[in-house]
């Protein structure tokens, strides 16, 4: 069966520090991968999605970036965090072979910027 792993679960970082969040998927190949951010009590904002290695689509201009160095690995990064980067970051995957497939989310990372 397919599983998605996301870490760390919580993270506290100072303003201006770098960020690296990692997400890996097991049990499937060539998945579509997604990064979302969710502010407290709010909806899901799509940040990046990827349909293959090295293929990243950015949905919202910001100081975050994403990379997909391997088929089942998706990384969210920042060189310098801002206070506004606080939130709940969720990675998700869906079957890339056919359209209209449901998304499966990781447990998320709660990021607090001080």
């Amino acid at each position: 069966s397919q599983t998605i792993h996301q870490w760390p679960a919580t993270l506290v970082q100072p303003v201006g520090s770098p960020l690296s969040l990692e997400c890996t998927v097991e049990g499937t190949s060539n998945p579509n991968l997604y990064w979302y951010r969710q502010a407290a009590g709010r909806g899901l904002q799509l940040l990046f999605y990827s349909v293959g290695i090295g293929q990243i689509s950015s949905e919202v201009p910001q100081n975050l970036s994403a990379s997909r160095p391997q088929d089942r690995q998706f990384i969210l990064s920042s060189k310098k965090l801002l206070l506004s980067d606080s939130g709940f970051y969720l990675c998700a995957w869906s079957d890339g072979r056919t359209a209209n497939q449901p998304q499966h989310f990781g447990d998320g990372t709660r990021l607090s910027i001080l």
């Binding site: 579509n32 997604y34 009590g41 709010r42 909806g43 899901l44 799509l46 999605y49 349909v51 293929q55 689509s57 949905e59 969720l90 359209a99 209209n100 449901p102 998304q103 499966h104 989310f105 990781g106 447990d107 998320g108």
Partner: protein
């Protein structure tokens, strides 16, 4: 761009009462998905609707897709405390790059015992 709206934003009900959330799109949809997010958790896929006028049931949950495929509803009969959480609708969007999803803002359900 495509917009997805959900009402109400919040709903407080007494345990045993019914609950309905509505999802509306500015464009005709190919399909719609529903997710539930428990407090402190991550969204979990509930169901997908594809056909015009489609109705699907999962125990006390009834999902409906509008005839014009621009709106959908989720109805919970006789709510229980385990129904607490935020319910999101999501629509599939394809662009030149691939497919992604637009989520509604969600309806947060509180159930008072």
């Amino acid at each position: 761009g495509q917009q997805v709206m959900q009402i109400p934003q919040y709903q407080h009900v007494q345990e045993g009462e019914d609950f309905t959330t509505y999802c509306n799109s500015s464009t005709t949809l190919s399909n719609i998905q529903w997710y539930k997010q428990r407090p402190g958790g991550h969204p979990v896929f509930l169901i997908q609707l594809v056909k015009s006028g489609e109705v699907k049931k999962q125990k006390r949950l009834t999902f409906q897709f509008g005839e014009a495929k621009k709106n959908s509803s989720l109805h919970i009969t006789a709510t229980q405390t385990t129904d607490v959480g935020t319910y999101f609708c999501a629509v599939n969007r394809r662009d030149n790059y691939g497919q992604n999803f637009v989520f509604g803002p969600g309806t947060r359900l509180s159930v008072l015992p």
